[in-house]
């Protein structure tokens, strides 16, 4: 049995509002949860921690009635409950805000907040009451937006807060926030945390899931760690050292990560002392209206260039231009000195440029195809349908990447949608590696995946560059960019503000540039003329 720390004195309300004991859930071939205990107290933020595949999502879905439990008891405010669906759970006061915003972009903010429980009058919807009520709720969250505006016209962060507004309107006793911060920038996270704290003061029990340790430590009172479907333990946040938390999550020594850090550090020194590598790709004043102002960018062979900047700074937009996903309005791209035009991703692939989207689900994996099919897809598309890759070769490719990238899957025939996020990301990486690109553009390859997989992907990027592949690396985590990149290009407000060699840069240096770095005057004048 897992070692539970003794129940701490929870102050005003000692009785847990949620008490799950001995929860087990099995899927064909997998025991997703194995006798897990979990409890939540009113007015507390409780972080659920664990690697991908640890069982976090399954536990949440058990609590919200999406999955029925094979064994175990769920008590809500002392009473045993069995939900047969999320609607019942919500009616009982358990509200959930998922990682992907589940709202309707083509409706107004007010309609989204009140969706499904619109105030009624005379058999129709009382639009005026709806406006008023939603305005009140938004006010309660200090969200200064017009309830009548279309949801789509707001940033992802605002949409996230609207989703929370929608969730707490249901008089929630329990609010579940599944990766609410993964696409927010620093200021927006602060805004979200302010909202969370005010909900906490109202006595709401909040379940918080995030891969950002800083945020977990900042906001949560209590932690529960899961690993491989089993409970590792429940801890009070202020009593648990970070290093102990990470070890509890991945269940192994952290030497792998530290080792990587030192290896790269020494390699960086070599790199900076060596001559600059030959240029593989050169972009001259490429731009796209509404996406990014003219930017110059060069990437050397075997060089890792990091793109840093806040969300919406133009990181992804620039990467999509180079990957051929969106086409440029102006400017010129050269590969090995030869001018090229990219109008489709296919053309980029022909030039051995691969773009791995930040939006893994929508633009990356093909979830109903097998691991093998996903891995060979880009290679097969490049060959054309009439030149199939022999089945034996496909099996070899799949097997070698499953091993090389340590993809956790029952076999190559498993559907990708049954894999955890980190493993899906690795399958996507394998697809791109299979076409042997000269330039690999990785847009947030480690977002929303666990510590172990993150370290593996970082190591992979390092060894790919060592073997001469150029990498354009985008991440919201500056530490990660600093650890991997030889050179860092900083963007702000859809303009390039700096191009810095990564020798001795610290996170604070980088933050200063992101916040205050000046726009490259040369480019500015270029735009003006």
């Amino acid at each position: 049995m897992p070692d539970l720390t003794p129940a701490p004195d929870a102050g005003a309300s000692p009785a847990p509002v949620v008490d799950m004991t001995g929860i087990s859930i099995s899927f064909p071939g997998v025991k997703a949860l194995d006798g897990v205990d979990f409890r939540m107290f009113p007015g507390e933020v409780h972080s659920l921690m664990g690697e991908n595949g640890a069982g976090k999502s399954t536990l949440i879905k058990a609590l919200t009635g999406v999955y029925s439990v094979d064994s175990g008891v769920i008590r809500l405010a002392g009473k045993q409950v069995t939900f047969s669906g999320p609607a019942q759970a919500q009616a009982a006061g358990i509200s959930t805000v998922y990682q992907e915003v589940n709202l309707l972009g083509n409706l107004t903010v007010a309609e989204n907040v009140m969706l499904g429980r619109e105030p009624r009058r005379l058999g129709g919807i009382d639009w005026r009451a709806m406006r008023r009520r939603s305005a009140e709720i938004l006010q309660g969250l200090h969200l200064d937006i017009d309830p009548g505006s279309l949801l789509n016209s707001h940033s992802l962060a605002i949409q996230q807060l609207v989703a929370i507004a929608r969730a707490i309107d249901v008089q929630a006793k329990v609010l579940i926030l599944d990766e609410p911060t993964s696409s927010l920038d620093g200021e927006e996270v602060a805004e979200l945390f302010r909202v969370i704290r005010s909900l906490k003061d109202r006595g709401v029990a909040i379940l918080f899931v995030s891969h950002f340790l800083d945020q977990v430590y900042e906001i949560s009172d209590r932690l529960t760690v899961l690993r491989n479907g089993q409970l590792v333990g429940e801890y009070l946040t202020h009593e648990l050292l970070r290093i102990d938390l990470v070890q509890a999550m991945i269940g192994k020594e952290l030497s792998a990560l530290e080792d990587l850090g030192s290896r790269i550090h020494s390699a960086e020194k070599e790199a900076t002392s060596a001559a600059r590598p030959a240029t593989f790709l050169a972009a001259k004043a490429i731009s796209r209206k509404g996406a990014i102002a003219p930017v110059d960018l060069t990437i050397g062979a075997g060089e890792v260039v990091g793109l840093a900047g806040l969300l919406g700074s133009g990181r992804t937009e620039l990467a999509r231009l180079i990957g051929g996903v969106d086409h440029t309005d102006s400017g010129q791209l050269k590969v090995n000195g030869v001018p090229i035009r990219l109008r489709t991703p296919r053309q980029a692939i022909k030039h051995q440029i691969a773009y791995s989207s930040e939006n893994r689900r929508a633009e990356g994996i093909v979830d109903e195809l097998s691991v093998r099919d996903n891995i060979v897809l880009a290679l097969q598309a490049d060959r054309g349908w009439f030149r199939p890759i022999p089945r034996k070769r496909q099996d070899e490719l799949a097997a070698s990447y499953i091993e090389a990238l340590n993809i956790k899957t029952p076999n190559a025939d498993a559907l990708v949608r049954n894999l955890s996020g980190g493993n899906q990301q690795k399958v996507l990486l394998a697809r791109w590696l299979a076409i042997a690109p000269r330039l690999l553009i990785l847009d947030e390859p480690t977002r929303g995946i666990d510590v172990g997989a993150k370290a593996e992907i970082q190591k992979l990027v390092y060894s790919l560059a060592e073997n001469g592949m150029s990498v354009l690396f985008i991440s919201a985590e500056l530490e990660e960019v600093l650890r991997l990149a030889n050179r860092i290009v900083v963007l702000r407000d859809r303009r390039k503000v700096a191009d810095l060699p990564n020798d001795g840069l610290s996170v604070d240096d980088l933050l200063a540039v992101i916040a205050e770095g000046s726009v490259d005057p040369e480019l500015e004048s270029g735009v003006a003329s």
Binding site: R346, A362, V366, L369, A378, R383
Partner: protein
């Protein structure tokens, strides 16, 4: 053993196959000699089962093309009209020829009809892939206009042809087996080989499941869409020629009427989702057989013609219900419950299912 039963029930072709067997059983009860196949004095196979295989052939051919179209998230409503156009084209050429009984004439007529269908299929592909019109609307255009085109070709007449080589297509036999059945089987086999031995099937499924991810992986959806709509049209034309040959007349208004619905139904019964993605040609075969057996059952059981459509609807509803994930989940719950009830008092006894 328990697991084998469980796996069989979970297989997506389980319920369609059960339905097929049940329909056949009903026929055997109604007509004891239903399954018997005899050889008549001309050496042709003869019997109700052979009738099902022959009369179901056109629906099967169209359903094979429809399967691929549906796998790309599309749909092709124009196949019925294409049947009429192909029949009208072939008949008008044969009638206009001084030698309607020559094999050469019929060959030319068939090839011209198929070529015309190919052009029209490419038109559908153009509307869907280049202009980006929703498939249901894009093919609705030809569905509506197609009967008009057929009418223009036949100049508003029902063209009756007396041509032995042409008649052979719909009612001939090769080594005792109906020509239509052979053609359908060959088409099924060729399309299966074409899509599964090349990467066509993989790329079609990929585009159907996630178009944007496929685009970023370098898949050219445009070429695939042209291919599937053109193939669908050509297969519809072959089916139309067989139907026309069977009736020895081209009827612009009635040849292939509503056959698009039967074909879509066959695809859906076969377990291919209308949302696109994974498809099963074997499933489509079973689906087409279920539909044709159903039609036969109506006659053997003696259901009054006015109730035929309602009966058909009831059977289709049953199949769809059995296949739906919701029903499957409910059945699974029911099985676990009854299994645990059976297991708890006497743990030693065999449990019916997993």
């Amino acid at each position: 053993m328990k697991n084998a039963v469980g796996r069989a029930v979970a297989h997506r072709l389980f319920w369609p196959l059960v339905m097929l067997v049940v329909l056949l059983a009903i026929n055997v009860v109604a007509v004891p000699g239903f399954l018997s196949i005899t050889v008549n004095n001309e050496g042709h196979l003869f019997g109700s089962v052979i009738d099902i295989l022959r009369n179901g052939a056109p629906t099967l051919m169209i359903a094979v093309g429809m399967t691929l179209v549906i796998a790309t998230r599309g749909i092709d409503l124009s196949v019925g009209s294409l049947c009429a156009i192909a029949g009208a084209m072939a008949c008008s050429i044969i009638l206009g020829s001084p030698t309607p009984n020559a094999v050469g004439t019929v060959t030319v007529a068939v090839l011209v009809a198929l070529a015309l269908a190919l052009v029209l299929g490419l038109w559908n592909g153009f509307l869907v892939s280049v202009l980006g019109i929703q498939p249901i609307i894009a093919t609705l255009i030809l569905m509506t206009a197609g009967r008009g085109i057929a009418m223009l070709i036949t100049e508003g007449q029902i063209l009756t042809v007396q041509s032995d080589p042409f008649k052979f297509l719909g009612s001939g036999f090769i080594v005792g087996i109906p020509v239509a059945t052979i053609v359908a089987a060959v088409i099924l086999a060729l399309v299966a080989l074409l899509t599964r031995r090349t990467a066509l099937g993989l790329l079609i499924e990929s585009v159907g499941i996630n178009p944007e991810a496929s685009r970023q992986a370098g898949v050219r959806a445009r070429g695939l869409l042209f291919t599937v709509y053109a193939l669908s049209a050509v297969l519809a034309a072959i089916a139309g020629l067989i139907l026309t040959s069977n009736q020895t007349a081209a009827d612009a208004n009635n040849t292939g009427l509503f056959i698009e619905l039967d074909a879509i139904l066959a695809v859906v019964i076969g377990g291919t989702s209308l949302n696109g993605g994974r498809y099963s040609l074997t499933g489509t075969l079973v689906g087409a057989l279920v539909i044709q057996t159903l039609v036969t059952t109506v006659y053997t059981v003696g259901i009054p013609p006015i109730a035929t459509m309602v009966f058909k609807a009831a059977v289709v509803t049953a199949v769809c219900l059995l296949q739906s994930p919701t029903t499957a989940a409910a059945l699974a719950r029911w099985r676990t419950r009854s299994a645990s009830r059976a297991a708890s008092p006497r743990p030693g006894e065999a449990v019916v299912s997993r």
